[in-house]
């Protein structure tokens, strides 16, 4: 009797399974047929069949953001692999843990410009945390383990594994595979710092003790590190207001009395004024993105800055830091909290409350029954459950979703922050629903971005995902139009979509329910029942065409240059 063998394709699945992977998003093709042949008889991993590889990468990303697990996507060589690129880059920019597996042409064909050959390792080098081209089947178990480990630890990020087709069909004995699998991961050059420097933590505690106007800016690091409770404890003990970055929303309860909402280009006046007036800023798991800082030389000018981040390269990258602490946020905050004494900053909080009262984020009044996008989002906020997952695409609606939803719970926002990838929304919502099957998932998407990836509506139907799709339809690429209005003298060059498909008919073609809400009356009558229903629905919300996202700090600007503080330009 011959010894039991395992081929490369099955090694991929078996190893992922042993690592705990239960779902993957993928699209078949010539160079991954052996893997698909094995998936066919591998019930432990559920494969979701996207309609475009970009959808697979975004879905894996959405899945990872809501579940905290590593998202996995699979595509064939050449165009299949390059179609993943936008999704990989999106995950990279927001530090989302992902393993992308691509088929490659067989080893003898590499470098010959073979059919569907692309150097995906070279292409994705700048947008992955690490990547591999497998050269030997004996390396495969190690590489898959390493990739999964690298993706999910330290500062998370996407890792790509390119696997030549002939390695997928090559066989080794099961005994040998087991032996290779058992070899512990050894990565000499990869050793993330989790424990913060004691002296630095003490320095931070002293700064916090002496601060009169402290502010916490909390980023997605809070969510990734699971430091939500520790952050809340710090804020409450030392009486420090908290503002969140876009992708950090939900890391601090949005309904908390110390919550200031979002900071940055379209952040609240109170949040942005606070950055300007604070004498101490605790930057927790943020990377001082230009959409947060505006002009970096003038950001938090009066403040000493404590920066806690797991990635040492983020320290002093964009803004000079006074007290850097490299480490896992949860661990660092736990240690910091042990040193921080209770305090009160009533005068500072009173000042902030005044800003909040004077400059609330406002919903424009409807004078003639017209539907305002801000109204749609603020109504959505009243309807959705506290732990509902709000997925947004990119543009005006994304900012309104950030502004008008309360974001009470962690892992309830899924949006492309760093990359700003239009078309992200629908596939990410699909991934989010797969990753959190019991939760209510609402996708807020513009009519522009929706048309970029609407082919994935088929998945919504095929897998009966009860996603609510709210299209904020203003017939424009609204954010670009807003910039053109403000900075280009209303020269609306190619932002008027002019023609779009009938979204109701489109939904119908995918066998999905749909409705149009084009005035306040019908909206008020039906919106709630659509959102609270158990079924998916596509809602075409025809909104005011030229509403602007306000307030706004122009790119590279300063808080003093904030426009539209009262909600009008």
């Amino acid at each position: 009797m011959s010894a039991e063998t395992i081929n490369g394709a099955r090694i991929v699945l078996e190893t992922l399974h042993r690592l705990g992977v239960t779902d993957m998003f993928g699209y078949p093709g010539g160079a991954v047929i052996p893997i698909y042949d094995e998936i066919y008889s591998f019930p432990e991993i559920k494969h979701y069949f996207v309609r475009h590889e970009q959808g697979a990468a975004h879905a894996a990303d959405g899945y990872a953001r809501v579940s905290g697990r590593v998202g996995v996507c699979l595509a064939t060589s050449g165009p299949g692999a390059t179609n993943l690129v936008t999704g990989i880059m999106t995950a990279y920019m927001d530090s989302v843990p992902m393993v992308a597996i691509t088929g490659q042409v067989g080893r003898p064909f590499i470098g010959k410009d073979s059919f569907q050959e692309a150097d995906i390792q070279g292409i994705t080098m700048p947008i992955t945390k690490h990547n591999y081209l497998v050269q030997d089947i004996h390396d495969l178990p190690r590489i898959i383990k390493e990739a999964y480990f690298i993706a999910g630890t330290g500062r998370p990020g996407p890792v790509l594994i390119d696997i030549p087709k002939d390695i997928q069909t090559e066989k080794i004995s099961m005994t040998e595979y087991n032996k290779l699998y058992e070899v512990p991961i050894q990565l000499e050059g990869y050793d993330p710092t989790y424990k913060g420097h004691q002296g630095q933590i003490k320095k931070a505690a002293t700064l916090i003790k002496n601060a009169k106007r402290p502010l916490i800016i909390a980023g997605a690091g809070v969510l990734k590190s699971g430091a939500v409770d520790e952050l809340k404890a710090l804020a409450e003990t030392a009486h420090i207001p908290v503002t969140n970055t876009l992708v950090g929303l939900g890391g601090f309860p949005g309904d908390h009395e110390l919550a200031l909402g979002m900071v940055g280009m379209h952040g609240s006046v109170a949040a942005n004024n606070s950055t300007d007036e604070a004498d101490l800023v605790i930057a927790a798991g943020i990377r001082f993105h230009d959409r947060i800082t505006g002009h970096p030389d003038f950001f938090c000018k009066k403040a000493k800055i404590i920066h806690i981040d797991i990635d040492p390269a983020e320290i002093d990258k964009n803004v000079t830091i006074d007290v850097p602490i490299v480490g896992d946020l949860k661990r660092v905050l736990t240690e910091l909290n042990a040193l921080v004494e209770p305090a009160k900053h009533e005068a500072w909080l009173e000042q902030i409350r005044q800003w909040q009262e004077e400059y609330p984020i406002v919903v424009p009044e409807s004078t003639d029954g017209e539907l305002h996008p801000q109204y749609v989002l603020s109504e959505l906020n009243k309807i959705v459950k506290d732990d509902a997952i709000i997925v947004s695409d990119v543009g005006q609606h994304q900012m309104w979703a950030a502004q008008f939803l309360t974001h009470k719970k962690p892992h309830t926002i899924v949006t492309s922050g760093g990359a700003g990838t239009m078309g992200y929304g629908l596939p990410a919502a699909i991934g989010a629903q797969v990753g959190a099957p019991k939760k209510q998932v609402v996708l807020v998407v513009g009519d522009g971005g929706f048309q970029m990836t609407c082919e994935e509506l088929m998945m919504v139907r095929q897998y009966n995902l009860p996603i609510k799709i709210v299209i904020i339809n203003n017939g424009y690429l609204g954010m670009v139009r807003q910039w053109q209005q403000i900075f280009n003298d209303r020269r609306y060059s190619y932002v008027d979509l002019e023609m779009s498909p009938d979204f109701l008919k489109l939904a119908d073609a995918f066998d999905l329910k749909a409705a149009r809400l084009d005035n306040v009356e019908t909206f008020n009558k039906d919106f709630k029942s659509y959102i609270t229903s158990d079924e998916s629905i596509v809602l075409d919300c025809r909104v005011e065409r030229e509403d602007n996202v306000l307030p706004m700090i122009p790119a590279g600007g300063t808080v003093s240059g904030m426009m539209g503080k009262k909600g009008v330009l």
Partner: protein, 162 residues
């Protein structure tokens, strides 16, 4: 103030490690002027010396960003006073029967080796610091330089420690 620094990188000798490092410099806008790469006494590792033009802030980023590459095991910036730097140069100059012996004499002063002599030219090998090579080039200009090939700087810190 931007100045030249020698940066030592020890990395796993994986395919594409040079590409990973140089592509990183390219996309982050770091300025690398010279790079030497070779193997070391430990099998499986590459030793790379980069000559980088940077101010303190960028130099800090250079080190941290390179270290983020998974295959990179060590990054170190050499202190000016604590490093031995050498570069190897091959220089081809015009040489006739009358100038040949003069050139050889000058090369001797620079501890250069004559590697090739043709009726109209010579190749000289010179090893040394950047300043020494520059000095030799200046003198050779009077005879007529036909070609120069330099290896870039390789460096090692003084004393027992790496």
């Amino acid at each position: 103030m931007a100045k030249e620094h020698q940066v030592l990188v020890i990395a796993k000798n994986t395919p594409g490690i040079g590409t990973r490092i140089l592509a990183l410099f390219n996309r982050r806008g770091f300025n690398v002027t010279k790079m030497t790469s070779g193997i070391t006494n430990k099998p499986g590792y590459a030793r790379i010396t980069l000559t980088v033009e940077a101010d303190d802030r960028i130099l800090d980023q250079v080190q941290k960003q390179i270290y983020k590459l998974i295959d990179v095991v060590k990054v170190k910036v050499f202190e000016d006073h604590d490093v031995v730097c050498r570069e190897l140069m091959l220089i081809k100059v015009k040489a006739t029967a009358t100038t040949r012996s003069q050139i050889v004499q000058i090369a001797d002063v620079y501890r250069g080796n004559v590697l090739d002599i043709s009726p109209t030219s010579m190749i000289i090998e010179v090893i040394g610091s950047v300043e020494k090579l520059r000095g030799f080039i200046q003198i050779m200009e009077t005879y007529g330089i036909l070609e120069i090939a330099k290896t870039g700087i390789t460096a090692m810190s003084r004393g027992e420690k790496m």
